[in-house]
Amino acid sequence: MACQIKENEIKEKVIEICSEFKNDPNDLIAILHKAQNHFGFLPKEVQAAIAEVLNISSAKVYGVVTFYSYFTMEPRGKHPISICMGTACYVKGAEKVLKEFESKLEIKNGQTTPDGKFSMNTLRCIGACGLAPVIMIGEKVYGGVKQEDVSKIIKEYE
C-alpha cells in the first residue's frame, strides 16, 4: 500500500489547498487537515509539496504531522475502527473490546488489515462517556460494546 497518488496530482491539489489559506504557514495545521481529508493520509510526498508551497522546511511539516495524533502517514483502511480508551470506557471494559478486535482481525492496534479493509486505532474520549465503552467505525458510533459483540459488528462490514 505504498503511495498510489500521482506526483503532479499531489502538487496541483496542494497548491489549491494552500492558496485557500493564502499560503500562510500559520495555518499549517488547517492545511494538513484539508490535505488529509483529500488524500486520506499524509505521505512524505504530500508533506514535501506543502513545505515547498509554504516555503518552510519539510522537517517542520514532518515535525507537526508526527506531533498530532490526528494526522497519519499510513493509509487507513476502508473502514477505520476507532476504539475509545478514555477513562469511562476503560473502566467499563474497553481494553477487552480492543483485544477482541485485535484477535478477530489479526492485526495490532495502529495497523491495517492486509486487504485494506479495516484499520484500527485507539483514541482518547469522543465525549460519549454515557455510552461507554464506545467504538467508532467510520462515522458510525457503537455504544455499550461488549467483547461478544465484536464479531457481529465486524460482520456488518464484510
Binding site: P25, L28, I29, M85, T87, A88, R124, C125, G127, C129
Partner: protein, 486 residues
Amino acid sequence: MKSKQIKIALRNCGHIDPEDIADYMSKDGYAALGKCLIGSREGVVETMKKSGLRGRGGGGFPTGKKWELAAAVPGEKKYVICNADEGDPGAFMDRSVLEGDPHSVLEAMAICGYAIGADEGYIYIRAEYPLAIKRLKIAMAQAREAGLLGKNILGTGFNFDIGLKYGAGAFVCGEETALIKSMEGNRGEPVMKPPYPAQKGYMGKPTNVNNVETFANIPAIINNGADWFASIGTEGSKGTKVFALAGKVKNVGLVEVPMGTTLRELIYEIGGGILNGKKFKAAQTGGPSGGCLTEKHLDTPIDYESLKQAGSMMGSGGLIVMDEDDCMVAVAQFYLDFTVEESCGKCVPCREGNKVLYQLLNKITHGKGELEDLKKLKDFSEVIKSASLCGLGQTSPNPVLSTLDNFYDEYYEHVTEKKCRSKHCRALIKYIIIPEKCVGCGACKRACPAEAISGEVKKTHLIDQEKCIKCGACYQKCKFNSIIIE
C-alpha cells in the same frame, strides 16, 4: 433526583435550537453584550472580578483578574481565545455547550474583547468534534448577519470578529502556551511563563485565553449581576460547575451543581448510586492531572480548594466513579500510559520521568514489583512535579500519588503478596475449577484457546496454570459457577 442542580453554563442546552439565533435571543441572548457596550470597559472587568468566577478549564484562575491583566497591557492588537480543546478523557461539557448553545460562547468572547480591548477572537477546537464545529460556523454567520459580530457592533463602533482554529489531537494543547503555539502552526510545545499570554500571546500580542464553560457563564453573570453569581457556591469558589458523571454509576451524563455540593450528593442522589449494587471505591476527578477521592471524602463539599486538599483537582470536571472491581494500581497505570503518550517531549522530567513511573507501575501490576518500588514511585513523582515545565508534567504524577496515599494497602498487596484484590491484574489472578461443582460438561475445555484445560467427559476438569493465559473464556462459558478467580 436532579433537584440539586442549578443550570447556568448549561442554561440553554436542550432548551433552544442551537442553529437559530432568534431562539437564543428569546432567552436574553446578546442582551449582556448590549449591556456591556453601553458601559465602560473597566465596569465589565469589575463585574467579572466581583462575580468571583474562576477558570473552569482546570486551573481555576480568577477570570476577572485575567481580564484585568490583559486589559492593562498596552497594545493596538489583542486577541481573545476560547480554549475548546477538551482533551480530558471522560469530560465532554465543552462539547455539549458548543453543540447546544454556541451563541453564548460567541457573545461572551465579544464581551471579553470589549473588556480587554481586542477586536479578534479565535476558538481553538478539537477536530474530533465535527457537530460542534458545524454549529459554531452557523452561529458565527448568523451573528455576523445580525450585526453582533464584525464591524461597528450594535452601532457602538466596537469591532470584533471570531475565527476557528483546529486542534489535531494533542492533549498538551489544552495548556495555554502550547495552544497558542499550535494555533500558529507549530508543534504544541509549551513555553516558559512569564511572559504570560496576557503580555505576549498569539502572534506575540496580548492574548486572553478562557475555556468554553467559563465563557458560557459570562452572559448570565452580566444579565443577573455579579452578586447573584457570587451568592451561589462556596467562599472561594463561586457559581456552579458542570461535571461529566461517568463510570460505574447508574445515571451517567452531564450535571451542573453549585460549588460545594458533596460527592455523596453527586454520586448517590444525582447519579443514583453504584451500578449492580457494587461497593463504591473511588471517584476520579481532574483526569490525568487529578486524583482519586475515596469514601472518606464523600461528604466533603467539592470546590477548587477542597479537591486540592484531597490530593486531586477540579480539572475540567470529569468525574469517573469506580467500584470494588477497579484496581487502583491499574488505574494509575492507565493514566500514566496516557501521560507518556501525550507528553510533548520538550522537558526531560516529564518525558523520561513519566516513562519510569509507567514502567514501575507495569512491573507492579505484573507481579514483579518490590517494596522499594513504592518508594521509587513517590520519589520520582516528586521530582517530575517540581521540575516539569508546564501543567501537564507538574500534575501528571497526581494519579500515582493520590492512589498511593489512599490505597497504599492495595499497592502493598501487589508487591508483597502478589495479590490484586480487585482481581483485575491478570498476572496476579488464577482461574480455578472447584471439583465439587464441576459436572464435567467440557464447555470450558472447548472454550479454552490455550488448551490449558484437561479432563474427561463427566469427570472433574483441571486448569493447567502453566498454560493458562488468563483470558477468562472458561469463566464466561461455565454455567455451573464452578470456576472461580483467585
